[in-house]
Structures are given as C-alpha cells and as structure tokens.
C-alpha cells in the first residue's frame, strides 16, 4: 500500500474505533434519522391529499431527500467540526504536523469514516421509509449523491471547526448553520411556499443541489422539466464541484500549525 493510502487507513481506523466506542454518539447518529421517519412518515403521515400548498402536502417519496439530508448534513458538520476543535484543543494537530500525515489525508480519513456512517444510516433510513409504505425509486444515483454530499459537508465541518473557538463553538456553529440549511434547501419545504423574491436565494445553499438531484432521481414525478436525467446529472455535477471546493478549503484551513 502506498504511503498516502496507508496513512489515511491508519487515521481512519483510529477515528472509526474511537467513534464506535462512544456509545451515545453511535446511538444518536442512527437514532436521529429513525426518529424523524417515525414522526413525519409514521405519525404525521406526509401522504398529502394532493394539490395543497401546506407543509407535508406531498407524498412521502417527495421527502426522501429531506430525510437523507438529516444525516448527510448534520452528521459531518457536527462530527468533523467538533473533531477539528478537539484535535486543536488537545494539541493533536501539533503532533500530527510532525508526522508525514498531511491535512488533506487527515480530512480524507475523517470524510471516509463519515461516509461509511452516513451510508449505513441512509440505508437504515431508506429501509424504514419503505416499511412505512413510501413510494420512490431506488436510484443508483443515491450511491453518488450520499457519499459526495457527505464529503462536501465534511469540508464545511472542517471550516467551521477551524474557525470556531473550541468544541462548544464548533457544535453551536454547525447547528446554527445546519438547521436553516435543512429547511431552506427544497427538502421539507417546497420552493412554492417561499416568497417569490426569496426563491433565487435557495440556489446559494449547497444542500439544494443534493435535494434537487436526489428528488429527480428517486421521485421523478416531482421534477417539472421534461427530462429528470438531465436534472440529476446537472445537480450531480454541481454537488461534485462543491465537494471538491469544500474539501480543498476545509483541508487548507485545518489548524495544523499555528
């Protein structure tokens, strides 16, 4: 195995072991999406009557991107953000800076851990949705959008952790950013419910491309355009570019040295 891959594997193995031994973190990583499904798909029953303009007026399948976004967005933002802050507080970066490991390798390792966790949580979520009778396509594009968007938000999490003061600040910042993003990205709230002047601003959310792409791939009837395949590909492209940029900026900002 080449040096870089070996280092990423060592870092990822250590990070995964550490995470799996935090039982509370593991429980809530998987409990959070399940509880959302139970509340919205099970209790609220988002099977809309059709034609309404209120919240949850669409069929459950429409909200698949929203449910997936809860793990794709929240898990990497809070985990990577707090991990960066913890590494800085504990002088772990100072130690790592004197090893051959690079910032990009460190972030790649932690992104890998997050992708594994998020894919597992997403599978759980999709199965739970199917059990509630939700109707959507199991598109292979999910295997693109979920990991790539996870990497995107790992990059954003690294930025937050680098800029925030300490773990508390990183967690507060990640929650403060994730919650608005979750509801302003064509996930739970349809664009038609926002004022007309506000709708163009939705394009500034990095999550909106995940949401549009996943919806076009798994619930094509919600896509207005003639060809949902084009919508999927376009949003996949934007998501990929955003992921590359966020990863590069996130890695560059990691406080490896003073």
């Amino acid at each position: 195995m080449s040096g870089s891959l070996a280092r990423v594997r060592a870092e990822a193995t250590g990070a995964m072991r550490t995470f799996l031994r935090r039982r509370t973190a593991v429980f809530f990583t998987f409990f959070f999406p399940v509880v959302l499904i139970v509340i919205f798909a099970g209790l609220v029953r988002t099977q809309g009557a059709g034609g309404g303009a209120g919240l949850f007026s669409e069929p459950t399948g429409y909200y698949l991107p929203a449910y997936l976004a809860t793990v794709v967005l929240f898990t990497p933002l809070s985990r990577v953000g707090s991990e960066v802050a913890r590494h800085r507080e504990d002088n772990r970066f100072e130690k790592l800076a004197t090893t051959p490991l690079t910032r990009a390798e460190w972030l790649a390792a932690h992104a890998l851990v997050n992708v594994v966790l998020i894919v597992a949580a997403s599978v759980l979520l999709v199965v739970a949705l199917l059990l509630t009778g939700a109707n959507f396509e199991l598109s292979p594009w999910l295997a693109f959008f979920v990991p790539i968007s996870s990497v995107l938000f790992c990059g954003v999490g690294a930025m937050l952790g680098s800029l925030a003061e300490g773990q508390d600040g990183a967690i507060a910042a990640s929650n403060g950013i994730a919650l608005p993003l979750l509801f302003l990205s064509e996930t739970f709230v349809q664009p038609a419910l926002f004022p007309e002047w506000f709708r163009p601003l939705l394009d500034f959310s990095p999550l909106v491309y995940f949401s549009r792409g996943v919806r076009a791939a798994t619930f094509p009837e919600a896509t207005d355009t003639a060809g949902s395949a084009g919508v999927v590909a376009t949003n996949a492209g934007v998501t990929l570019v955003l992921a590359v940029v966020a990863f590069a900026v996130g890695a560059a900002l990691i406080p490896w040295t003073e």
């Binding site: 060592a10 250590g14 031994r21 002088n91 100072e94 130690k95 004197t98 051959p100 490991l101 040295t257």
Partner: protein
C-alpha cells in the same frame, strides 16, 4: 559536524504585547540532551514549536537537521507536545499502532510499549489509564518512528516519582544510543540529571546556557546552612542572612556546621533544625529567574 538544531536570533510575538521569544539563539549538537528551563510563559513551548515547524518565527532563522523545520524529514523527528491528549478511546497498543501507521517505517509498537514500561496486552483505554501511564503511552507514540531528534515538552508533568525515574532512565538510554533530545521542564532535578547542557529562558530571552555544573558554579551561589531560629543574624562571627526559611549562613563548609552549632549554643541562641545543602540547579534557576522578573536579564 553541523548542529542538529539551530535557533538564530529568533523572535515571536502573539499580538502587540505578548512577546514569547525576544532574540533567542542556541544550537544543539547530535546526540546531545539539551534542556530548556524557565518559568511559565518564558517561551519554552514557543521555541519548541518554532524548531518543529509548528509555528513560524516572526524574525530570525531556525534549522532542524540542517533544513527549515517543515522541510526536514519527518521520519527522523519525534515530538511529545505539551498538554498532549491523544484519542481517549484507544488502548495503548492501538494508540501506538495508530501513530506507527502514519510513518513509512516504524518500530514494532509492542516493543516500544515494552520499552516505556506498558503492557502491550493491556486493553485499558487511554482515558482510563493513570496519569503516569498516559504519559508513558504518549512517549511511546513519540518513539515509534525511531526518531533521531526527539522533542519532549514537559514529558514528566503529572507523573509520579517512580514513573518519572523510569522515564528518565528511558531518556538516558535513548541519549546513550545517540538520539538528540530537546527537553523542556520545570523540574530542575530532571534537567540536572538528563541534560548535557541547559538553557534558562526568562522573559523570552536566554538568560544563561551551559552545562548544569557550569550554571551551578556560576549562578547558584555558595553552600547554605539554614538555622531555624528567630535570633539576630550576626552571631559569633558568622554573617547570617534573615530569610523566610530562617537564618541562612552562606559559604559554610560541611566541616564547619558543628562550629556554627556550638557558637549558637555559646551565644545562648534558641534554635531548632540545622540544614546544610550544596547549591544546585534550582538555586541557579531561582537567581536567574529572579533577575528576569526584576528586568535584569542579559544574554549570557
């Protein structure tokens, strides 16, 4: 042979007022154990960070193994940072394996753990180890790449006396095997025991550098006899000094202690304990650090 570590007129400040290093110059030769001592905030950790490349000096030059620190071969460098806390949910063996995995060429983690006195089979997580065991695990992580240059920033802080002695013995063995060690410490016994040379940092400057013996001879003053009494300092021809410890007589030879005791008794002085001690590195430290606090530091 070129020095392994060089700092030449290094300056570093944090903000406008906090001067951490103010023109520090020193060099460390291959195989040497060099101790940086000084009060909190003297600039020891900042200097270590400059030398390891984890911070950049504002002015001056630093060299590690003949290169700017960030260009030096990381395989040859080991670091135990100050207040270092690795992942707490890994056992010591997993922790050392983790760090071993970051190098192209690493030692057997079990052998390193054995060397620092930890049982490789012990599965206790780092967070559940005692303070001394934690520090040993951190030392093992710093040794796993078999470094030629080892930076130890307060390596025995929080370690009990027995554990400290075990680590000193390990460091001495490493030095004997040719590893260059830069050590920071508040423990003068540690510096005196391990270091070939000591630099005292105070107020961001090197107040003095030399072998422990040289620093003691130059700055520590005379042998001291301390008498626990409230009596007048000038007793029977001995010039005493009143201090918080009691009455202190300087330059008293051990053979003269009995004479002093007899003189005190003849003078009817009521006294308790008598204690005599040779000057040590701590006395040199106190003298130089005191100068620094009074703003009397000059580079020596």
């Amino acid at each position: 042979m070129d020095p392994v570590l060089v700092a030449d007129d290094v300056e570093k400040s944090y903000g406008d007022d906090a001067v951490a290093l103010d023109g520090v110059s020193l060099s460390v030769d291959a195989g040497e154990v060099f101790a940086l001592v000084g009060p909190n905030g003297a600039g020891k950790t900042t200097l270590v960070r400059c030398l390891t490349g984890t911070t950049d000096p504002d002015a001056g030059t630093v060299r590690l193994l003949g290169e700017p620190p960030r260009e030096a071969r990381k395989q040859r460098v080991g670091l135990l940072p100050q207040a270092f806390a690795p992942p707490d949910r890994l056992a010591a063996r997993e922790l050392v394996r983790y760090y071993a995995g970051l190098y192209d060429d690493a030692r057997d983690p079990d052998a390193v753990l054995d060397e620092v006195g930890l049982d490789p089979e012990e599965g206790t997580w780092y967070g559940d180890l005692s303070g001394g065991q934690r520090r040993r695990a951190c030392v093992a992580a710093a040794l796993v790449n078999d470094p030629d240059v080892l930076f130890l920033d307060e390596p025995t802080t929080g370690v009990d006396p027995a554990g400290r002695r075990a680590l000193w013995s390990l460091f001495a063995d490493l030095a004997a095997a040719g590893t260059t060690i830069l050590l920071t410490t508040h423990d003068m016994a540690e510096a005196a025991r391990l270091a070939d040379r000591v630099a005292l940092l105070a107020g961001g400057r090197v107040a003095a550098t030399g072998t422990p013996e040289h620093l003691v001879a130059e700055y520590a003053g005379d042998a001291r006899l301390v008498v626990d009494t409230d009596a007048d300092p000038e007793i029977a021809g001995f010039d005493g000094e009143r201090t918080d410890e009691g009455l202190v007589f300087h330059g008293v030879d051990p053979a003269e202690v009995g004479d002093v005791a007899a003189a005190l008794e003849d003078a009817g002085v009521d006294f308790g304990a008598l204690s005599w001690r040779e000057p040590g590195l701590e006395d040199a430290y106190m003298a130089l650090a005191g100068d620094a606090e009074r703003g009397e530091v000059t580079r020596r």
